[in-house]
């Protein structure tokens, strides 16, 4: 999927300025940015891609916006439950039992609505799935469940989030600022652009930050991304 030189204006003011980006199947991407940098506007443009010649899509792409409205009268209908595979139905049953499936989606709890939004991606049979902030609502257990389900089903995720700790789970990273792409590349190489990220007000994941600072004192010589490796290097 490619975006070539996309600009969008709202009330004559530019929201996105000459955005060019590519998203590839199999490469999970973490997309973050400063406040009002155009992240959600970009997702909305991808969702309404038929309005923009600058967006070229091959295959199925789905976009899950954080405050999406439910249009159907039951959870079951919203999910197109009976058209889904057995595996997908089993996954959904962990969260919505037969009684819940008959409920109106708008009557679900706040947390269940966020889970339902994520589950609606199944009916779209997407190969690349754009998720706007939804992962940040999930508890650790449910987050792991969704991540592994998408991975097992070869669904590539582009996560829009402010939770920088999550970035390390993604191969590629894009940072937006004032409607433009400020930097993009392999996640660790982007995170090592410490000065640029600091200028944008974007922090580093704890282990990257700790590694860089300890490296500058000559206490370690590499980047260590988990507690075992980091502690193992410091206290051999």
């Amino acid at each position: 999927m490619t975006i070539n030189n996309l600009s969008i204006f709202k009330s004559e003011k530019p929201i996105l300025k000459n955005i060019s980006l590519s998203f590839y199947k199999g490469i999970n991407t973490f997309l973050c940015g400063t406040c009002a940098s155009g992240k959600t506007s970009l997702l909305k443009a991808i969702k309404n891609n038929n309005e923009y010649n600058e967006i070229k899509i091959e295959g199925n792409v789905a976009v899950l916006l954080e405050n999406e409205k439910f249009l159907e009268s039951t959870v079951e209908k919203e999910l197109k439950y009976y058209s889904l595979s057995l595996k997908q139905q089993q996954f959904i049953q962990q969260y919505f039992d037969s009684e819940k499936l008959k409920q109106n989606p708008n009557a679900l709890s706040f947390y269940e609505q966020k889970v339902l939004l994520l589950c609606t991606s199944f009916k779209q049979k997407s190969e690349i799935l754009f998720i706007d902030n939804l992962y940040s609502y999930l508890n650790k257990f449910d987050l792991a469940q969704f991540k592994s389900f998408f991975q097992e089903n070869a669904i590539t995720v582009v996560l829009v989030s402010t939770d920088i700790e999550q970035a390390l789970d993604y191969e590629y990273m894009v940072v937006m600022d004032k409607g433009k792409v400020a930097i993009e590349g392999k996640t660790l190489s982007v995170l090592l652009e410490e000065k640029l990220l600091k200028r944008l007000g974007i922090g580093l994941p704890f282990y990257v930050d700790l590694s860089l600072q300890l490296k500058s004192y000559g206490l370690i010589h590499d980047i260590y991304l988990n507690k075992e490796d980091m502690a193992g290097q410091l206290w051999k």
Partner: protein
Amino acid sequence: MEISTYIKKEKINAIHSDKDIYDKNYVQVRQNYKNQTVTEYIVEKTNCTEERMLSSFRLVNLEKDIVYKNMMDLSSSEKIKVELAIPLILNEEQIVLYYFDLYFMEKDLLFFKKLFCKLVKKYHKTIVLIQSKFSFTFDFADFFLFYSDEDHIETFEKNELFQIEFENSVLGVPPILMFIKYVNHSKKKIGNYTDIKELIKEIYREV
């Protein structure tokens, strides 16, 4: 006992839960905004003067010219700032924020941490932050409530955080906390820090 009975007045309270404790009156980005300007929206909610609105906007770091923008055209971070301005205009004693940190990166989060501390110390407000992760709150909240159901509410003061057993918790735990607990358990006794700079100083002294 209701969770609200645990809230400590004139403190920053952090409620972390894997259950739903949603209330439509909390400070949060709404699902539906009408086609109206920010001024119209604020006046409808608070019936305040322009001067009062602008002073609250300054407090939450919103620029003056936002008043002419349409609510539907705002970014999520601008919307949540407008929502936070409302209880400040109304001078509410208690402000409850729902998943507030989702809309901001580090620099802005630091700004709001300072603002919440100021609201408590200078204006005697009670702040309640509700979210599943506590990476945002652990280094500045005064009081923590971990809530899974009404029969199981655990409360902790700031200095008790390092005694909590998180390994099997479904809550998102700050990596600095997990790292220190791991080092203390398997390598060497080090101090309990919430600030990475303080942790680095100790590592520098010890390694």
